[in-house]
Amino acid sequence: MIAFENVGLRYGHGPEILKDLTFKISPGSFHFLTGPSGSGKTSLLRLLLLSLKPSRGTVSMFGEDVTQLDRDRLLQMRRHIGIVFQEFRLLEHMTTFENVALPLRVRGQNEASYRANVEELLDWVGLGDRMDAHPEVLSGGEKQRAAIARAVIGKPDILLADEPTGNVDPELSERLLHLFAELNRMGTTVILATHEVNLLEKFDHPRMLLNDGELTIHD
């Protein structure tokens, strides 16, 4: 599903942040992505989100070399990828419901066709009574769950989550992790960046460890 071959990444003329990454991720798997702050977790996820191009090497997803994609194909591929940003990036002028429904709205779907689905998902993440609230009045954990709901509403094949438990207490972290595991059971490939050791210990998923720009995978 995802294959990296000798991938290197640098920003502008800076040093290489990611060096010579070669790995494969099979469909339906669940990986933790970990490493110290600044080690390049977000950068790696941005490569996977197709929002950055590698400085060298090849990245292929869904069996296609992503450096060769035209705009339409890139768009189609993005619609199979869900992303939870480290800083949520909810749109402030929209309600929770609208934020979560946005991926469907931009695909041109009619509100009537997705309202029930979105409401069900919001109930599932425990935001059923916060549907009409705007992000500014949501707590950190509520925003986090809204961001997660937005990432999964389009039923993505790949779910990328950047520190999705960064803002919540250990108890909620654990509940969110169970939520991701549930999605994974339903077939979504999950890559979840975190540096919370207790989560890594509690859940037994393979770890991709970034250090000094080098990646090692511990199964």
């Binding site: 992303i83 749109l91 002028h93 946005l102 389009g154």
Partner: protein, 307 residues
């Protein structure tokens, strides 16, 4: 299903581009002012054009024969001869000598009241009305009149040429101003659009990441600008119509009747008429369309630049 076709269903939802992030009111005011200027320029050009055409046609329907009194000639019989010669030319409707009183009235502004013209060697004038200004054989008329000693034909051709040149200059300047106003409007829209896009860069990025096409994003932004363009344009157009009505009314009430009539000839009574109204609607539509197209191109360009 197309992405554009469903947008109408979303009116209950918040727009994708936040309302406050568009410099909407400023832009609307600017577009309103530009539309007003365009309409007034357009209306002015139309009035000058109409008046000049009308005036020129009026003058063209007439020419004058001048008969100077010469020693040894009987002026009255020369005048009668000129009239009968003129009336024999095809395309001439009628020929009529101005009476002495009429000539006096014409000269009054220069010579003062109560001058007895019979003492002076004043030329007599014959006004020739043409039924067919285009078809009349001026050459034949001129050669026949030349047979009368002291008589000559005055066709006002030079004067009409001057009038037409002046009107043409005004029309060209007006059209040039219109083009410049539209250009300035387009530039202002480019700046406003780029500003709005930059303000909403975060939203644009998020939309990209969750799978929105450039077409969808462009549609959201440009829908906003089309609305602003339409509102500003309609406001400016209405203001221009009010301006012409007020100016026309002021003209006929403030001015004494005779000078108002003369000015009325000049300014076409400030009556724009149907063509003027249609023209103003056209200007409004052009400006709204210009807003939509300019912002669409700008949004498209911005999106492909950040890709």
């Amino acid at each position: 299903m197309t992405e554009g076709g469903l947008r109408l269903n979303w009116q209950r939802q918040n727009p994708i581009v936040p309302a406050g992030s568009v410099a909407g009111r400023t832009l609307m005011l600017l577009i309103g002012i530009m539309t007003f200027l365009s309409c007034v320029t357009f209306g002015g050009v139309l009035l000058v054009q109409k008046s000049a055409l009308g005036w020129s046609a009026d003058v063209g329907r007439e020419l004058t024969i001048q008969i100077r009194p010469l020693d040894g000639e009987v002026l009255e019989s020369n005048v009668r001869l000129a009239i009968s010669l003129a009336e024999a030319v095809p395309g001439v409707e009628s020929a009529r000598a101005l009476s002495l009183e009429e000539s006096e009235a014409l000269l009054e502004p220069w010579l003062g009241e109560g001058v007895d013209l019979s003492d002076l060697a004043i030329p007599r004038l014959v006004v020739v009305r043409l039924s067919d200004p285009a078809g009349v054989d001026i050459g034949r008329l001129e050669s026949e009149i030349a047979g009368i000693s002291g008589a000559s034909v005055e066709t006002h051709a030079a004067w009409r040429l001057q009038l037409n040149t002046m009107a043409g200059t005004i029309v060209i300047s007006g059209v040039l101003s219109l083009v410049l106003i539209l250009l300035a409007t387009a530039l202002a829209i480019v700046f406003a659009t780029r500003g709005t896009m930059a303000t909403n860069r975060d939203i644009v990025d998020v939309l990209h990441f969750i799978g929105a096409s450039n077409r969808f994003i462009a549609g959201e932004f440009q829908g906003r600008f089309l609305l602003i363009g339409l509102k500003g344009g309609v406001a400016g157009g209405l203001a221009a119509i009010v301006f012409f009505i007020v100016a026309g009314t002021a003209m006929s009430t403030v001015m004494p009747e005779t000078s108002s009539q003369q000015l009325g000839v000049f300014f076409g009574q400030f009556a724009l008429g149907l063509s003027g109204l249609l023209g103003i609607i056209g200007v409004v539509l052009v400006i709204a369309g210009l807003t939509a197209i300019t912002s669409r191109l700008t949004v498209r360009r911005y999106l492909s630049q950040i890709a």
